[in-house]
């Protein structure tokens, strides 16, 4: 059924003379372009883009879309990514005139509706975090990490403190050390204990007056709540350091426990994970940060402030915090994604928000229970919203790797879990079902995994068998990179 012609490269569909979009003449009379612009600046010909018709374009991109798995079409239990359902009402509301067509340099008196929404979003995120001050600037989670670390650096500099170290457990997302390095800190990694939690004794041994920030994901990347988090925070604060909560796993704890209440000083949200910003095949995201009051003066701006007005209406305006680290990006932020998060929170309310986490944790524990008799669970027999199993035993005994299982799942109509992360678990499969999946789907997924575990290893090593392609050669790709199409000579 696949339309092989339409899914050729768009460049191969091109034929000189074909057109899709035309623009009318400017209607300002005939003048040579060289009267307007210096001849030396003008190109002889326009860029060599493909020449196709509108029907070509539609058939090409619609057919290509069918080669994707997505949340709209498949169960997508990609651990750490919170691939939950993306409500369609959000798409409509984000596209309304008055929202989608707003230029960022319109004067504040003409965009009070938008500023009111962004203000309310700041307030809601502060409440869920238990941290009072929010900046909506960062464009993604990693960008939020960097923003918060720069905020911490500015705070320490202002206090005349020389702090150079950022500490994180070995189970941390790769963005944690990468962000710390870009913010100019030295990275110190902690091994995690056998229980899958932070090793407190080792942490103590690394703490000193050069410690700036301890970055921790809670619940952590093996799916466990760091129950010693209050003690960890106390230890950090004792040496004058700060605790950063990587909010990637907020879907487990909404309304259950709050980063600010368990000792976090700063955190980022991934609005595209927790609050249903669609993942867009890689982005856009939004990574707002929330911090304690003493860090507020250093936050990246602009931030929306509210003031009362004589006639009872609130007036909203943009301000930059007094000692702000400055901008992290141009304009206000990834507003389109922040809006979807706002619509979601307005739909859910406090009760709905807590139900999200309760159900996400219920679904994960249920699935864990259905798998643990045949897949090894290295850390804990309960989990939060996700869990990590190891295929190490299957690999040793039968030669079936985590990758083989992941690939074979595609044949069964399921997207694969995250594999080989966290790095602390060998042959890791990190499974996050989210709350927007049914028991029937979880049962079917568990049954598929059980069946796969019993399949012929050689057959699995060649999976998937039902997709257009199977097992691309990554090594060859990197050795001789072909990163664009070129016309045949």
């Amino acid at each position: 059924m696949r339309n092989q012609q339409a899914t050729q490269l768009i460049f191969e569909l091109s034929l000189p003379g074909r057109r899709a979009t035309r623009f009318p003449d400017a209607g300002v009379g005939p003048r040579n372009l060289t009267d307007l612009l210096p001849a030396s600046a003008l190109a002889e010909t326009p860029p060599p883009l493909p020449e196709v018709t509108e029907p070509d374009v539609i058939r090409h991109f619609v057919n290509l879309s069918t080669l994707n798995m997505s949340v709209d079409t498949h169960f997508y239990p990609l651990g750490s990514c919170t691939m939950k359902y993306n409500p369609k009402r959000h798409e409509r509301w984000a596209s309304l005139p008055g929202i989608v067509d707003l230029h960022p340099y319109l004067s504040e008196d003409r965009i009070q509706g938008m500023l009111a929404v962004m203000y309310e979003m700041q307030e809601m995120l502060a409440e869920i975090a238990g941290l009072p001050a929010v900046s909506l600037q960062p464009a993604a989670g990693a960008h939020g990490e960097l923003a918060a670390l720069l905020t911490a650096a500015a705070y320490f500099r202002d206090r005349g403190e020389q702090r150079t170290k950022v500490i994180f457990p070995a189970s941390a997302h790769g963005t944690n050390p990468a962000s710390a390095a870009i913010a100019g800190f030295d990275c110190v990694q902690l091994e995690i204990s056998k229980t899958g939690l932070v090793n407190i004794e080792q942490l103590k041994s690394k703490l000193d007056h050069e410690t700036a920030v301890f970055m921790i994901t809670n619940p952590n990347t093996v799916g466990l709540f760091e129950r010693d988090i209050a003690e960890i925070s106390r230890l950090l604060h004792e040496v004058g350091g700060l605790v950063y909560i990587d909010g990637a796993n907020m879907n487990a704890i909404l309304g259950i426990t709050r980063p600010g209440d368990f000792g976090g000083d700063m955190m980022h949200y991934n609005v595209h994970k927790t609050f249903t910003g669609p993942h867009g095949a890689g982005g856009p995201g939004a990574g707002p940060i929330a911090v304690r009051d003493f860090l507020e003066p250093y936050l990246p701006g602009p931030i929306v402030k509210r003031a009362g007005h004589a006639d009872g209406e609130f007036v909203y305006s943009l301000v930059n915090p007094e000692k702000s680290i400055g901008r992290m990006r141009s304009f206000f932020g990834n507003v389109g994604i922040l809006l979807r998060g706002y619509f979601y929170l307005k739909t859910l309310g406090a009760r709905g928000v807590r139900e999200v986490s309760e159900t996400a944790v219920l679904n994960a524990n249920y699935l864990l229970e259905k798998l643990k008799d045949f897949l090894y669970v290295p850390h804990g027999d309960r989990c939060m919203h996700e869990f990590v199993v190891s295929a190490k035993e299957l690999q040793t005994k039968r030669g079936i790797s985590a990758m083989d299982i992941a690939k074979r799942l595609l044949d069964y109509g399921f997207h694969a879990p995250t594999v080989y992360f966290p790095l602390v678990v060998p042959e890791a499969l990190m499974i996050e079902p989210t709350e927007t999946e049914s028991k029937e789907t979880l049962d079917a997924f568990a049954a598929a995994l059980r069946q796969i575990a019993g399949e012929d290893p050689e057959f699995l090593q060649q999976a998937p068998h039902s997709t257009k392609n199977s097992r691309p050669d990554d090594v060859a790709a990197a050795r001789h990179p072909v990163l664009k199409w070129t016309s045949a000579p």
Binding site: L9, F11, A20, T21, R22, L33, A41, L42, A43, E51, V57, F61, L64, S65, T73, L78, P87, P97, G98, D101, L102, H103, E127, I128, A139, L150, A178, I182, I256, T257, P278, G280, A281, G282, P284, R327, R329, S330, F331, N334, V335, F343, L345, L348, G349, G352, R354, R382, A406, L410, E435, K468, N469, R471, D473, A476, A477, A478, L483, K484
Partner: protein, 449 residues
């Protein structure tokens, strides 16, 4: 309403399977003193029907802004978006997928990004493109960081004062902490003075950062600036308006080493400033120093060609603190929009769009500078945007324009500390292909006070 499936009976069944008696038991390992009890202080949840009218009311509160005829510029432009762009971008198969880690389940997105990389190379005249970054400002910063890695010079960069003030601000945010000096060369005539620029470059400079058309809309002398930078062993890093390349020479033909752009004009709505698209492309020799996701072709087990995430050894999930960037996404959905946009326009469409912008902008400049209270700020060539000097209070100007139904700007007083005092009374005027002669005539009439 939280989009849940589980019925009470199913919930009980699931709890029985797990071996606990209540959902609350699933959280028993969280120390009691850390639990949040009661309800968060959030608004009460509402149905789709209720929110529909509430959100339409909010949108309508902004309508007194969006109903103004838009002559606003400053890095975001009111360009036309063909309907086919929205049609494709609304497909759930694209927008509800994630990063294509599993190539076999993501050939659609992967091919789109491969096509995107090719189109960006064709557009900018560069050898390689990544699969996109957050937006134009951070793309420029990533290019500066990349230039430091390439040249192994980490102490100094030079940036023109005609580069977008917000981009320059992001540069400071990122680089100050790293102890890198940022030398800003003022552009008092609306473009760079090449001699001044040459004097500020030395053999410790990683790169010269140039925007052309620049923040004021004017064209910089790219070839001379490239020569000045290269003489000192520095790279030339540029930011450009992608629409302008329908008419103007490509960065690749002008000596640029790393070319960046804000991709918003390529079929992406203004949506109050984001999400947008950070374009970054470079010469082949710097390929492995690039930040961000990159897609490549390879063959699979059966010898069929296909697409994969490539050069991942540069990235944070492998290299951690030694990665080329902390970025772990591209702007997939926006890269899709730009890909569809560029294929719809093709070479002729892009040229027509660029020409229409350029001709209308020059018509607007003639009309407005003929008015008693305005003069063209700089006598320099421009593409679709230009700076006007207003003999009066610029804030007053914006207000009077708005009352007459027009949005014009930004005014430079919006960017305190970023421009010379002599530029405080400047206002930008941008003209896209969406504007008409009639609108320009009415704007001129409205401003003839």
């Amino acid at each position: 309403m939280s989009y849940l499936f589980t019925t009470p009976d199913q919930q009980q069944e699931m709890l029985n399977t797990i071996g606990v008696s209540s959902v609350e038991d699933l959280f028993s390992h969280i120390p009691d003193e850390l639990r949040f009890r009661g309800d968060l202080n959030l608004p009460v949840g509402k149905t789709e029907l209720e929110l529909e009218s509430e959100i339409r009311a909010i949108a309508n509160r902004n309508r007194n802004g969006t109903e103004l005829t838009c002559f606003l510029g400053g890095g975001v432009y009111d360009h036309f978006i063909p309907s086919a762009v929205d049609e494709i971008a609304q497909r759930g198969e694209y927008y509800t997928a994630y990063t294509p880690y599993q190539a076999e389940a993501s050939q659609g997105s992967l091919q789109v990004f491969f096509e995107y990389q090719t189109l960006i190379c064709e557009l900018l005249g560069m050898d390689v493109s990544n699969a996109s970054l957050y937006e134009g400002g951070t793309a420029l910063v990533e290019a500066a960081l990349m230039a430091m890695r390439v040249t192994r010079r980490h102490r100094k960069i030079v940036v023109l004062g005609s580069v977008h003030p917000e981009y320059r601000e992001i540069l400071s945010t990122y680089l100050e902490q790293l102890g890198c000096e940022i030398v800003v060369v003022p552009a008092l005539e609306g473009v760079a003075d090449v001699n001044l620029v040459s004097d500020s470059l030395d053999d410790q400079t990683a790169c010269l950062i140039v925007q052309s058309p620049n923040f004021f809309g004017h064209l910089e002398s790219m070839a001379e600036l490239a020569e000045a930078a290269h003489q000192k062993g520095a790279l030339l890093v540029s930011s450009t308006d992608p629409i302008s390349l329908g008419l103007l020479k490509q960065p690749g033909d002008l000596g640029v080493d790393i070319a960046t752009a804000e991709g918003q004009p390529l079929g992406i709505p203004m949506q109050y400033g984001g999400p947008f698209l950070g374009i970054l492309a470079c010469r082949e020799e710097y390929m492995r120093k690039m930040p961000g996701r990159v897609i490549g072709t390879t063959s699979d087990r059966l010898g069929n060609s296909c697409f994969v995430l490539n050069l991942q050894a540069r990235e944070q999930h492998i290299r951690r603190d030694k990665a080329t960037s902390n970025i772990c996404t591209n702007q997939g959905l926006l890269a899709l929009r730009a890909t569809v946009y560029l294929t719809l326009l093709g070479p002729q469409g892009l040229r027509e769009a660029a020409e229409r912008c350029c001709r209308l902008a020059h018509y607007a400049a003639e009309r407005l500078t003929a008015l008693p209270n305005f003069e063209q700020a700089f006598d320099q060539p421009f593409f679709k945007e230009f700076a006007l000097r207003y003999r009066g209070d610029v804030r007053d100007l914006s207000r009077r324009a708005a009352e007459a139904g027009f949005a014009i700007g930004p005014t430079l007083d919006r960017f305190p500390g970023q421009f010379d005092e002599s530029m405080r009374s400047l206002v930008l005027c941008a003209v896209t292909e969406k504007r008409t002669v009639e609108e320009i005539d009415r704007l001129a009439e409205a401003l003839s006070f």
